[in-house]
């Protein structure tokens, strides 16, 4: 699909509102429908066993962050590939195989970086 109207995105809007509505409706419904019996013991995180201590949110390993950054970088790479792939036929007709080499070069640059990252041991998880 190379041509579009904004209205073509209407289904997206519908689906999005349906998803949001589902969340809101279930949250309200469980609140209203379920029986309510509150007590101090019942509201504790563990009803039995060791008493909860401290905060659930403790600092996590920086490795997660690194993985997330790598993800964003490759996300951006994919963004570049999208208009390339969509127009590949037309570009190929006009320019020949150069268009393929262009993307290969782009990928090679990133893969060189990725290889460096692996060699550096960034993805090693201990």
């Amino acid at each position: 699909m190379k041509q579009y109207f904004p209205s073509d995105y209407l289904p997206l809007l519908v689906q999005f509102s349906a998803a949001a509505a589902f969340v809101v409706v279930t949250m309200i419904a469980t609140h209203l429908l379920g029986p309510k019996r509150n007590s101090k013991v019942k509201d504790a995180a563990w009803e039995c066993g060791i008493e909860a201590k401290g905060d659930a949110r403790t600092p996590i390993s920086i490795k997660y962050f690194l993985t997330a950054i790598l993800f964003v970088l490759f996300d951006i790479e994919v963004i570049f590939m999208y208009p390339w792939a969509v127009n590949f036929k037309e570009l190929f007709r006009e320019m020949g195989s150069v268009i393929f080499v262009e993307m290969l070069l782009f990928m090679a640059l990133l893969l060189a970086g990725f290889y460096y990252v692996i060699k550096k041991g960034v993805l090693k998880w201990e």
Partner: protein
């Protein structure tokens, strides 16, 4: 064009050379890469490489001006690299990454000197800046270095936003990213230009002026320059500034010649402000490195005078001045790196006390560099200032700016000579500092360049 490809490839190569156990190969390899890139760059002099004209569809130009600007960047890098010896000898150093990112930064710098399309300008600025953010924070265990990187990154990202928004507005007004296309549009529609164009020019100027640290966009400079490792401060204050001025002048000269009356006044005011802020604040500093940061700001002011003058000679003046400034700055930082290493990392003026007694050569290099930065005759800095002032004089009507600049140069002499006095007159003890062969070569080259520029300026002035 070819030099960009070469530098990218050698950057990647240097990245992977780091996996080699031996570190001793890295610096010679980087110097070799840079020399080859310089040779290839100069090789385009008479017959620009055909690929660059046929394949890039008006994305960049290789002509004599861009070749000379790129050569200044490469020479600056060549002069900086020898002083990395102490820095990479530390056990926690990762030299392969330093050199690789330096090489990548040069790619961005060369793009900024040779762009024909605002997209290329943007990508070039970004490659250069992101490399600088990282190198500013390369001393990971040092809190000041991390602070410098973060500060530079946050402010720089903000300035990049201005640049990008300005580029978008320019496109919106003229339907073109090409700087020649913008010029064609503005020339064809004089008197009927949309306000988007004017706002766009202001935004782009803010973005670029931030990168060259002109007042009032200079607030990041002292902290970043002081916090970064001296090695990368030297690189930052020379390469980024030269590339930034090349980009600024190219944009104004190609695209906005017809709108001179619109932007000239604001640049002139920024120039005066930069001179006053840079010089007055520099004279109060106790730290030599911080003084050099403010001196970097003030030199941006001198270069902006040449931009304001906008004569035929202005571009030559900018070229000459950037070369003289870069060489002198790198020599000064070279001495600072060596001295600070002996003085437990102290970068104050007092670290230089009595340096001349045991290290007459280093003291001489520093004195010459300071003379050149202050603009004393027989050095490159004098003729740089002379060329800039005479181009402004030829323009006429800029006398208020010239008077301000000359007054501020006098202030400059005061603080540049503080270090000379410390070296020759103050009492102090510095043992003999050993230089590596490459460092000696770099110092000798910088002395020669500074003196040659100062004694036979025609040799360089007629080049372009």
């Amino acid at each position: 064009m070819l030099s960009i490809i070469l530098l990218s490839v050698s950057g990647i190569a240097s990245l992977f050379l780091g996996f080699n156990k031996s570190r001793s190969l890295l610096m010679p390899a980087t110097l070799l890469f840079l020399l080859v890139a310089l040779a290839v760059n100069l090789w385009d002099w008479n017959v620009p490489f055909t690929l660059s004209s046929a394949y890039n569809n008006g994305m960049m130009t290789v002509d004599k001006t861009t070749i000379v600007f790129s050569a200044i960047l490469l020479v600056s890098a060549l002069l900086v690299i020898p002083f990395s010896q102490n820095y990479i000898d530390r056990p926690q150093a990762q030299p392969a990454e330093y050199y690789a990112i330096l090489l990548f930064a040069l790619v961005g710098g060369i793009m900024m000197t040779a762009y024909d399309n605002l997209i290329m300008l943007f990508v070039g600025v970004e490659i250069l800046s992101i490399s600088m953010y990282v190198l500013a924070g390369s001393d990971k265990r040092n809190l000041r270095s991390t602070e410098a990187a973060l500060k530079y990154f946050l402010m720089g990202a903000f300035a990049t936003g201005f640049l990008l928004f300005g580029v978008a507005l320019l496109y919106g007004a003229t339907m073109s990213f090409s700087i020649k296309g913008i010029a064609d549009y503005t020339n064809a529609n004089v008197g009927n230009l949309s306000p988007l164009l004017y706002v766009g020019i202001v935004m782009v100027l803010i973005g670029v002026l931030f990168k060259v640290s002109a007042a009032p966009f200079h607030f990041w400079t002292p902290d970043v320059y002081e916090g970064s490792p001296s090695l990368f401060t030297a690189f930052m204050s020379t390469v980024v500034k030269t590339a930034g001025f090349a980009a600024l002048y190219r944009l104004l000269a190609v695209s906005f010649t017809g709108l001179y009356d619109y932007w000239a006044m604001s640049i002139a005011v920024v120039a005066l402000l930069t001179l006053v802020v840079g010089n007055i604040t520099a004279s109060h500093q106790h730290s030599f490195k911080r003084m050099m940061a403010y001196s970097g700001i003030s030199h941006a002011g001198y270069l902006l005078i040449a931009v304001t003058a906008f004569q035929n000679t202005s571009q030559d003046a900018i070229l000459f001045y950037s070369l003289a400034y870069s060489v002198a700055t790198i020599a000064a930082f070279g001495v600072l790196i060596l001295v600070a290493d002996k003085q437990q990392g102290s970068e104050d003026f007092s670290a230089f006390n009595g340096l001349a007694k045991n290290n007459p050569f280093l003291a001489f290099v520093m004195t010459l560099a300071m003379c050149s930065l202050a603009g004393i005759p027989l050095t490159g800095g004098f003729f740089g200032k002379f060329l800039i002032f005479s181009s402004a004089f030829a323009k006429g009507g800029l006398n208020w700016l010239l008077i301000g600049a000359i007054l501020m140069s006098a202030v400059g002499i005061y603080y540049y000579f503080k270090v000379v006095i410390a070296m020759y007159i103050r009492e102090g003890k510095t043992e003999k500092i050993a230089l590596t062969g490459l460092q000696q070569a770099a110092f000798v080259l910088s002395i020669l360049l500074t003196l040659l520029l100062g004694v036979v300026p025609n040799l360089f002035a007629d080049l372009v």
